[in-house]
Symmetry: C2
Subunit: 361 residues, 2 copies
C-alpha cells in the first residue's frame, strides 16, 4: 500500500464554512436524558434539486468536528458525477445538535438571557440528534429519504436514523463506524475530555467565549489526530524528519515534524471549535449502544478500512451480522488503504465505487 | 487468546519503593547535547550476590516511569528461580538519569542553591543515561556484565549499552522496544508533553514542588495508559460497564469504568512522578536513533508481543536484522498475548522461558 502524500490535504477536515447555509427553527426538544431545549435551530445546506416525487433526498451526517458543509469535507464523495451525485440527488448536510456551526449547541445563546448555554446545555444522545434532523426533513416536506450517509460519528447517526425512523430511510451508508463504542474508544474520548475539563479555564463549562480552555482543547485535538492516522501513515507523512532543520536544537520546543503537525492541528482547532461542544458530542456517541437493528427497514452498506484502528473492521463485521439478524439487506466491504481512520474522508475512489453501486440499484 | 483479569494488578506499574535503595556519587557529567551536571547521584538496588569472578551481574533498565525497584515491577521475571534468577545472578536495578526516584533529575536539588534544577536541567540522551550506569558498575568493580535487560525505554537503554560499552555486555534482552521511535511514537509522547507544557502551572518548568502541573501530568498519563493496552485488553477489562451503577447519570462526570480507571491512573501518577522528568525522559527516547549495531559485541534476544501497537513487532524484526547485519548472534520471538504493550510487564511465563534459555546458555 503506497501512501500518496497529496491525499493529506488540510481542507479535508477544515473545509471553509458554507456560504449557502440556512437555518430552520424546529421548536422545543425534550431530550432523552431528561433535559429540555426550549427552541432548537438547525443549520443546514442543500445541493441538487428535490424531484417531484420528493424521493431523491440524501441526508449526510458529519463526523465529530464537522459541519453542514458536507460538499467540502466529503468532496471525494459528493458533487456532480460523484457517488452522492448532486445531479441526481437532493443532498442535505446539517450541523449536529450540540455542535457549534449554526445548530443549537452549548455556545448558542440561551433564550432566557442571550448568554451561551454553556454548563446549562443538557446532555444529549444520538436520539436527540436524529430527532432534530427528522424535524428538518418534515419541514422540507420529505417523507422518505433515498439514503442517509455518514462516517465515524456520522455513521453512528445514520444507524440511529434507521432504527428511529423506520420506513423513512431506504438505504444507509455507514463507513468507519460502529454500533457502540468499545472501552478503548470511550477511553480516547475520555482522555480528550479530561484535557478540557482539567484546564482551569474551562471553569465548569462557563468560560467567556474569548477566553476558553484553549490549552485543553488543543491537547484533546492532538489526541484525536493520533487516533485518526495509522502508524504507517504517520511514518510516510513525517518519518523522523526534523522540523526545518538538520540537527536537533536539544530543547523542549518542537524538534520533529510530527510534533509541529500536532501542535498546529491543536492550535488551529481552538479557532474553529467550542470546547463544550466537544464534551457534549463525545458524550453522546459514547452513550450509543445499538444492540439490534430489528426496528429497521433499511438496506445497508458498511465500509471499513484495514488500517483504521480507531473504528476497526470487526465493528463493521458486527454491524453486518446485526443487519442480517434483523432481516435487512446488507453488505460489508473492507478497503485496504494505509490511511487509518482518516481513509473515510480521503478515499473517493474505492469507497465511491461501492457507494455509487449501492445508491444506484 | 483469553484474558486473565488477575494479570492486571495495580502493583505491576507501581511497586512500592525500595527499602534497600542505595546511592552512588559518580561525579560530573558532560551531556551529549551540550549541558553539564556538576555532580550526579545514581540510585540503585541489588539482589543476589556478585560471584568471585565478578561476571554474574545483570543490569535491569526500567521503562519510562519505573524505578530501581526492578524486583517489584518485573516480579514475573526477577527473583529466586525466575528467569533473572537472583540465586544465580547479581541483579542491579537503577533509576535512570533524569528520573525522579533518587537519581539526579529535574526535581533534584541544584548544587548551587539547593532548589530543584527544574528548567535548568539539561536535555539528556540515552548516551548520558548509560554513561551514568557504566560509572556505577565501575564503582561496583564490575568489568563485564552477564547481561543488560529492559523493556520499552529500558530496552532502548539495553541496546544503547551494547553499542556504547562494547565488550562489557555479554547479552542483551530487549523486549517491546525499538531502535528509534516512529513518528507515531514521537506523536504520542508529544501530545503527552503538551498536556504538561500547556498547563499554566508548569510555569516554564519552574513550578513549586507542591504546586506542579498535576492536571497536565494526569492527562499525559491517561494518554500513556491508552497506548499501553490493546483494544481487546480494554474490552476484556472494562467493556462498556458503568462505574458502580446500572444506568448512566447523564452528566459529564465518570460514567464508564474505563473512565474511572483512566482518571484514577492519571491522578495517582501525579503523586509519584515529576512532570519535568516526564518531559526530559520522553525527549531522550525520542532522540534515540540507532541505525547500526556494528559497534556491538553482544548476543541479543528480542521479544515483541502480537497486540503491542505502541512498539509493534516489526520494530523487533528490524532489530533482529540490524543485529545480524552486525554479525551478532540474535534471535527474535513474537509472543501472542492479548495484553498490548503491557505484556512485557505482565508475561512471566513465555517471556520468562525464552529469557531463561537465553541467559543460561
Amino acid at each position: 500500500m503506497e501512501i500518496d502524500p497529496g491525499l493529506f490535504q488540510e481542507n479535508e477536515r477544515t473545509a471553509p464554512s458554507a456560504d449557502n447555509r440556512r437555518y430552520a427553527q424546529i421548536g422545543p426538544l425534550d431530550c432523552e436524558a431528561g433535559g429540555r431545549l426550549e427552541e432548537v435551530t438547525i443549520a443546514y445546506e442543500t445541493w441538487g434539486k428535490l424531484n417531484a416525487a420528493r424521493d431523491n433526498a440524501i441526508v449526510v451526517c458529519h463526523a465529530l468536528t464537522g459541519d453542514s458543509h458536507a460538499i467540502g469535507w466529503w468532496s471525494n464523495l459528493i458533487g456532480p458525477g460523484k457517488a452522492i451525485d448532486t445531479d441526481r440527488y437532493f443532498v442535505i448536510g446539517t450541523n449536529s445538535l450540540g455542535g457549534c456551526q449554526g445548530t443549537t449547541g452549548p455556545a448558542s445563546p440561551h433564550p432566557d438571557d442571550g448568554r451561551p448555554y454553556a454548563s446549562r446545555f443538557p446532555i444529549i444522545t444520538l436520539r436527540d440528534m436524529i430527532e432534530v434532523q427528522i424535524r428538518l426533513i418534515d419541514t422540507l416536506g420529505i417523507d422518505c429519504l433515498r439514503a442517509v450517509a455518514g462516517g465515524s460519528m456520522g455513521g453512528m447517526q445514520a444507524l440511529q436514523w434507521t432504527v428511529q425512523a423506520p420506513g423513512r430511510v431506504r438505504k444507509a451508508f455507514v463507513t468507519a463506524s460502529c454500533a457502540a463504542h468499545s472501552a478503548m474508544q470511550i477511553g480516547f474520548n475520555e482522555a480528550a475530555r479530561q484535557a478540557i475539563i482539567r484546564d482551569p479555564k474551562w471553569r465548569g463549562g462557563d468560560y467567556p467565549p474569548d477566553d476558553g480552555p484553549d490549552a485543553g482543547l488543543s491537547v484533546s485535538r492532538m489526541i484525536g489526530h493520533l487516533s485518526f492516522l495509522s502508524e504507517q501513515a504517520f511514518a510516510a507523512k513525517f518519518g523522523r524528519r526534523l522540523q526545518g532543520k538538520d540537527r536537533p536544537d536539544y530543547r523542549l520546543g518542537v524538534e520533529f515534524e510530527v510534533e509541529s503537525y500536532l501542535n498546529y492541528q491543536g492550535d488551529k482547532f481552538t479557532r474553529r471549535f467550542d470546547a463544550n461542544s466537544f464534551l457534549i458530542l463525545t458524550r453522546a456517541i459514547d452513550y450509543l449502544e445499538l444492540t439490534s437493528l430489528s426496528a429497521s427497514e433499511s438496506e445497508y452498506l458498511f465500509v471499513s478500512f484495514s488500517t483504521d484502528w480507531l473504528y476497526p473492521s470487526h465493528q463493521s463485521r458486527h454491524l453486518l451480522q446485526m443487519a442480517r439478524d434483523a432481516g435487512c439487506p446488507a453488505r460489508h466491504v473492507e478497503i485496504d488503504l494505509p490511511y487509518g481512520h482518516d481513509a473515510f474522508l480521503l478515499d473517493g475512489v474505492q469507497q465511491g465505487a461501492h457507494l455509487n453501486d449501492f445508491l444506484s440499484n
